[in-house]
């Protein structure tokens, strides 16, 4: 009896230690410090001078993935105001139009918002290398996206990662069991593909 209790204790302790280890590796905090992030050389003199991610990112609108910052909202709220050009003669182009993609599949429809993208990016970052500037002209594939093409050039590398399915698949189809908190209505101004 006593014997089996202490054995159970052993396993329990081992589990707790391992779980702690595991969680420290996954998310000791939301942002790892530079000397422990696995890419900075802890002996580099820069470690003392570079900014720690947590110092800057913990002050911005939180997210659950990527940099753990909801960058679109952070920009819109004015928490950050990144420069759009460094040469005075560069034309800053912003375009406000939503495009609905994937009107036939089983997942909710994908709404691609131009405004949120062109606040950060220029047209040449997408047109016409990645996408044609015509609704319905590009053949999309979720598999290509997962392989780092199309939307996956940025999403999964620098912008919010592909694990956030419903941030892209955000418009429930008519008759589709609506995800709570998702509007069924198709937004005004949206351009359905031909």
């Amino acid at each position: 009896m006593r014997e089996s209790t202490s054995q159970a204790d052993f396993w329990r302790r081992a589990l707790v230690v391992l779980a702690l280890l595991a969680s420290a590796g996954v998310s000791g905090s939301d942002w790892e410090s530079l000397n422990k992030d696995g890419i900075h050389d802890p002996r580099s003199p820069a470690i003392q001078q570079l900014q720690q991610p947590a110092d800057a990112l913990s002050k911005l609108t939180p997210d659950t993935a990527g940099n753990m910052v909801r960058w679109v909202q952070s920009l819109e709220k004015g928490e950050i105001n990144p420069r759009a050009n460094i040469r005075p003669d560069t034309k800053i182009r912003v375009y406000d139009s939503d495009v609905l993609l994937n009107l036939k599949g089983g997942m909710p429809i994908v709404r691609f918002p131009h405004r949120q993208h062109t606040l950060w990016l220029d047209c040449v970052n997408c047109h016409d290398q990645l996408f044609k500037a015509e609704a319905g002209a590009t053949k999309f594939s979720m598999l290509k996206i997962l392989e780092g093409e199309q939307c996956g050039v940025c999403h999964g590398a620098v912008s919010f990662p592909l694990t956030e399915c419903f941030r892209c698949h955000s418009v429930a189809r008519p008759g589709q069991a609506p995800r709570p908190s998702l509007p069924i209505a198709i937004p005004s101004g949206a351009v359905p593909p031909k």
């Binding site: 800053i92 950060w120 040449v124 990662p161």
Partner: protein, 125 residues
């Protein structure tokens, strides 16, 4: 008791699956020449720069290609005001004489994007 063992097995599995690096999402390591030429690899932090500049500044105005390793960054060009040197010129940002701030990486790291982009392809699901 068997539940604990199951839990233990799961924890071990988690440990095994975990990536060895926990760099900040979208950190870039540049090491095409640096280490061969006797300096530490370069670390470019996207999170730090995007607080100050929109993507279009680097990827449209300055024309950086969006594919890690595809831009031929050379130290001589940087000192001449190209690439990182378009800003790291003592005017927009500190000058290129502060070697350690850019060359801060661990030796042996290949050029690439780090920070656990969770879905680099179906194989990583």
């Amino acid at each position: 008791m068997s539940t604990w063992r199951l839990g233990l097995a799961f924890a071990v599995l988690l440990l095994g699956v975990m990536p060895p690096v926990s760099a900040e999402y979208a950190d870039v390591v540049l090491n095409r020449r640096a280490e061969k030429e006797g300096v530490r690899p370069v670390i470019f932090p996207h999170w730090f720069h995007r607080i100050r500049f929109r993507c279009k500044v680097c990827h449209a105005e300055l024309g950086f290609k969006m594919r890690v390793g595809s831009n031929d960054f050379k130290m001589s060009d940087i000192v001449d005001g190209r690439f990182c040197g378009a800003c790291h010129n003592g005017d927009i940002a500190w000058a290129p004489d502060r070697c350690d701030l850019c060359h801060s990486g661990k030796r042996g790291l290949p050029t690439g994007i780090y920070g656990g982009h969770e879905t680099g392809g179906p194989g990583r699901w």
